[in-house]
Symmetry: C2
Amino acid sequence: MQRNGHRSCVLWFTGLSGSGKSTIANLVDQLLFERGAHTYLLDGDNVRHGLCAGPNLLAPVYGSEFAERFGLGFGQQDREENIRRVGAVTELLANAGLICLTAFVSPYRKDRDLVRAWVERQNGPGTFLEVFVNTPLEVCMKRDPKGLYQQAIEGKIKNFTGISDPYEAPDSPELELRTAECSAEQCASQVLSYLTVQGILP
Amino acid sequence: MQRNGHRSCVLWFTGLSGSGKSTIANLVDQLLFERGAHTYLLDGDNVRHGLCAGPNLLAPVYGSEFAERFGLGFGQQDREENIRRVGAVTELLANAGLICLTAFVSPYRKDRDLVRAWVERQNGPGTFLEVFVNTPLEVCMKRDPKGLYQQAIEGKIKNFTGISDPYEAPDSPELELRTAECSAEQCASQVLSYLTVQGILP
């Protein structure tokens, strides 16, 4: 959609908890906004209570059988469906002409590749940009902004990516950001440069 | 979001199959586009293969257990979840600054009211506009553009709204369009006028 003065795409940030995905995605969103771009950022905050609500939020409204079936917890199937729903929405947002940013751990390669295939099938090649926020586990554990790694190590959180669950790094992401070596601002500006080089931004 | 030169909202078209929802929603979308508005239209065509895909589409990719759980068929629970997912996406699209149009039968008052509550909680009062496409059943059956009523009468389609399943008309829709008395163009222009009066369009 040329109306917006830029091409649309999906910027899919993936990386460990504490890697800096949300921080950088928010910075990129802000920089894009300042350049007059039309953007939307999807993260846990805006899907957890709606599109990907858990059983406990759905049960009071829709009943427990419905909530058990469609509500998303932390099992493998639930995580797959979480990424599938988010991916389907990114496809629609890109189709609406927006630059859509997402910030989810999205640990499984297969799930990310399925989103890529779906987005590109609907919006054309080069519209799905995988941004690997490559921060060493030790650095993420040291940052531990929400104290989640500590809880995972103590066994209080099961299936925690990086501790008790695998993180499958992208094979060939469009972008790789090394937050242990560069500031969040430097990483964000790397993303903007890439969008310009790719002709997504004018 | 004032960047777009208009306010954002959800225009939720509801009515029987064959009532003219899609025709009018597409016309409104076109008129809004011509006025420079940023819009997105959600209907069966763009959610059926992605966000609200059925079990048969999901099974080859995700396996049959996953497909049975999350794939949407035509049962009551499936229809509820279909409208819930679409509603959650309209909330995000309105939040992104767009005028979001939807064209789904959405026969149950409770489901529409839940979407209304959710959209207005996130985007503010007056952002959910229910457009009742009020076409008498006899007229819809006579039009029967896809031959669905005929199949429903012959019992080949179960749970068909208007024949074997109820349609619960809105109690107090923001707009009521009577397609038996007005042309689709007249109905569309009625919607545009309403958006202007409400200050959504400048």
